[in-house]
């Protein structure tokens, strides 16, 4: 019996990739525009959010996370959580110590 490969062996056309590419270009334009208007301290937050949307599109479609196993998704979630906790804890220290 041949087991189904866990690898994403589905054949996708070019279309979804071109759509993501167009979205990434549009979001790059938006991020430059947002930086031009003065949002004060929220400007950087908006731009990090836009970057995260772009990164999610790349991971989900270009890197095929959409078709990956639950285990891989869980691993990625664990890594991103570790990074987030590190950043939050560091800022707790930096903001309240000085």
């Amino acid at each position: 019996m041949k087991e189904k490969e866990t690898i994403s062996d589905e054949k996708t056309g070019y279309r979804p990739y071109l759509a993501v590419w167009a979205a990434l270009l549009a979001l790059t334009g938006i991020t430059v525009y947002v930086a031009g208007i003065d949002l004060g301290r929220y400007g950087i937050i908006v731009n990090i959010l836009i970057a995260s949307v772009k990164a999610s599109l790349v991971v989900y479609i270009f890197m095929h996370l959409k078709h990956e196993s639950r285990m891989l998704k869980a691993m990625l979630f664990f890594v991103l959580s570790t990074l987030t906790v590190t950043i939050v804890l560091t800022f707790m220290d930096v903001l309240y110590r000085y």
């Binding site: 490969e5 056309g13 990739y17 970057a51 772009k54 990164a55 891989l72």
Partner: protein, 206 residues
């Protein structure tokens, strides 16, 4: 039954796609935490030297940064398309898209070269006497370290894709065995993601 399974594993043509890809992802996780540490350093110093960071960033050219962003995003597209093409049995398309990826990656480095040269000619490099305030010194140290390490990843990518291109051409990488191309693509998309964050954090904070 068990012996048959063992024989299958020892067969010369045995391939472990899931394992190969998982290995690549684990490597990418270490890369994420590696750059994550630098982003953390950036974030802490930015909160400490906010005005000086914003002031130092005005020396950077947003247009050049945006052009490089477009180049890198497009190279990520051609990389994804090359895998999609190979899976559908279109070897010619795949080779073309791989070649385009290498060209875009090289273009990114050429732009970077001119950008760095311009910085040097304005007296901006790590340890330059023209950088006076503490915040400015730290900003440009992080600028050169982060874009430099990112650039190093781009160079490694170009070398890897040249090898992958040759292997695809010789049918070592083919419609039924494309894990090397897929892993190369995963690496390249991560390099793209790092830049997606570097661009707003370094160029767009003026």
């Amino acid at each position: 039954m068990e012996r048959a399974a063992a024989a299958d594993i020892n067969a010369a043509n045995h391939r472990d796609y899931a394992g190969a890809k998982l290995g690549m992802w684990i490597f990418l996780f270490t890369e994420l935490l590696f750059f994550g540490g630098l982003f953390l350093l950036y974030a802490v110093y930015r909160s400490k030297y906010l005005a000086e960071f914003q002031n130092a960033a005005t020396e950077l050219n947003i247009t050049i940064g945006a052009i490089n962003t477009l180049i890198l995003i497009t190279s990520s597209l051609t990389m994804a398309l090359s895998l999609s093409a190979l899976k559908s049995g279109k070897k010619g398309h795949s080779l073309l898209f791989q070649a385009l990826t290498i060209i875009f990656a090289s273009a990114f480095l050429v732009v970077k070269y001119f950008e760095w040269t311009a910085k040097f000619s304005h007296g901006i490099w790590p340890g330059s006497p023209e950088l006076t305030s503490q915040g400015e010194i730290i900003f440009y140290s992080l600028y050169f370290v982060m874009t430099g390490l990112h650039g190093l990843h781009v160079i490694i990518g170009i070398v890897a894709f040249a090898i992958i291109l040759a292997m695809t051409n010789k049918n070592i990488i083919n419609e039924g065995d494309y894990i090397k191309l897929e892993n190369g693509g995963l690496y390249w998309h991560l390099v793209d993601i790092i830049w997606i964050y570097l661009f707003p954090l370094i160029y767009l904070i003026q």
